[in-house]
């Protein structure tokens, strides 16, 4: 799961669809998360550190960490399917590896196995400080492909 220096970018159409969808996610706006990269099978979301996303000791709340991990996984799967598809999270499991304070979070992910119906994604969240990153949470997510709802 090493990052490559050069990444293929997703097509402009896919990027536009994902950014439009992301902007409609009330929770991402509330948290202050933003998308920073959309590649085939991989989407990065950054969540800046601020008191509103913490738990009682000032660390990132596991719920905030999970929210960006889950969202990045869903959109990463989204890059692999045709336009009329949508991906819903069936379930995920996440390990919180280290309490993180005062570091922006970045959730990336790596597509693992896409079937016709189900897709399984690896979820990774890094804490970034002074240009250095460390893995703070990782997980595994199952998504189901559905026809796009009209809402």
């Amino acid at each position: 799961m090493e990052e490559q220096a050069q990444w293929e970018q997703a097509s402009p159409e896919i990027q536009a669809r994902i950014r439009t969808s992301f902007d409609r996610q009330g929770l991402m706006g509330l948290l202050g998360a933003r998308i920073t990269r959309i590649a085939p099978g991989r989407v990065h979301i950054v969540l800046p550190s601020r008191p509103e996303v913490t738990q009682q000791h000032g660390y990132f709340h596991a719920g905030a960490t999970s929210a960006i991990a889950d969202t990045s996984g869903g959109y990463a799967a989204f890059t692999l399917f045709p336009e009329n598809s949508d991906m819903l999270t069936v379930e995920y499991k996440i390990n919180l590896l280290a309490p993180v304070r005062r570091r922006p979070h970045r959730g990336g992910r790596n597509g693992l196995k896409s079937g016709r119906t189900l897709t399984v994604c690896q979820l990774e969240v890094f804490g970034v400080q002074d240009g250095r990153r460390s893995l703070v949470a990782n997980g595994q997510q199952t998504l189901i492909r559905v026809n796009r709802p009209e809402g």
Copy 2:
């Protein structure tokens, strides 16, 4: 896991500790979540429905659902240990059973097994509408007991 009509309440000291801790959780305030019941081994958190906690189709975001599930599990475990203990989430797994729109969420939970170091909790989230509730997510969480940090 049927709910009983009469529940034992946690002691006033434990209730006060949990409410104080909850109020310091920036994320719970941001989401608009509130605690509605603190019993030994079981804590209820309600998350009212509003656009700020949704994903792109107006359903509750899995991250918001998970955040209250994870938090209620942590505090439920918290009710079982002495005052100088704290509970950190090691990991959890959650199934999103049904997309939920326009219903307040309520995360309850049921303590399962508490060891000296690790505790395993069942996580349940219900959607409530017109006084009727339905299970919308359920999961399982592993917590580790640590000495309370000073922060």
Copy 3:
């Protein structure tokens, strides 16, 4: 999740289908597992303790515990669907709550949520000794309904 003294039994047809299927599971025979109860949404499998199912310290191997948990969950889901359906495990998560030595294992389970495509099951494994049982593992499983393969 208390057990009731009186359980409804599954229909003779469903019981016969499950027993026939179970007998074709090479692994269950190899382990020495057997079915002891088939009720709608709940199947019990007993795995007697013997050295061949242990890990290096003489405890039940997590793999043996998981195998009966996974199998009982699959058959429990199987009781809820028409004859031409089959259930495949998509994923499961299991917590090993306590090392268990010299006690037969029994995996029961409790159906949780069955949709048209996916079913989510609670998995429970008990250690039984001198007529007393204790929960030794519990988990959560996602199954997918497929048309019965011909094999």
Copy 4:
């Protein structure tokens, strides 16, 4: 998670300890599994295909797949700690990606994060046929370090 052509081998002492421990695992012997590689943070176990490890349709049983995944993860963590330590599985989650018939299985893994008490491992199981391998299951495991029991 690409495999490198050249791997560092674990020390002869660690290899000997793991092989001795593995030989005491009744279940591994019963299944017919064997260790094929012991590197720091990575252990390979091969499970040949035979009817005794299948489910009702002749595919590898999820329980057999899980047993080698769980075991390889535990030993991989074992390579990273001093001799008086032992690793117990706290929990794991595994996705069964594809039904597999008539192919030997090989469980490798990749150590992820080792703390003083808890270690989180990635679990991977490949089906191998005609020299080609494909990922058939992957998961994530939490282990706890304990003092070695005397048994």
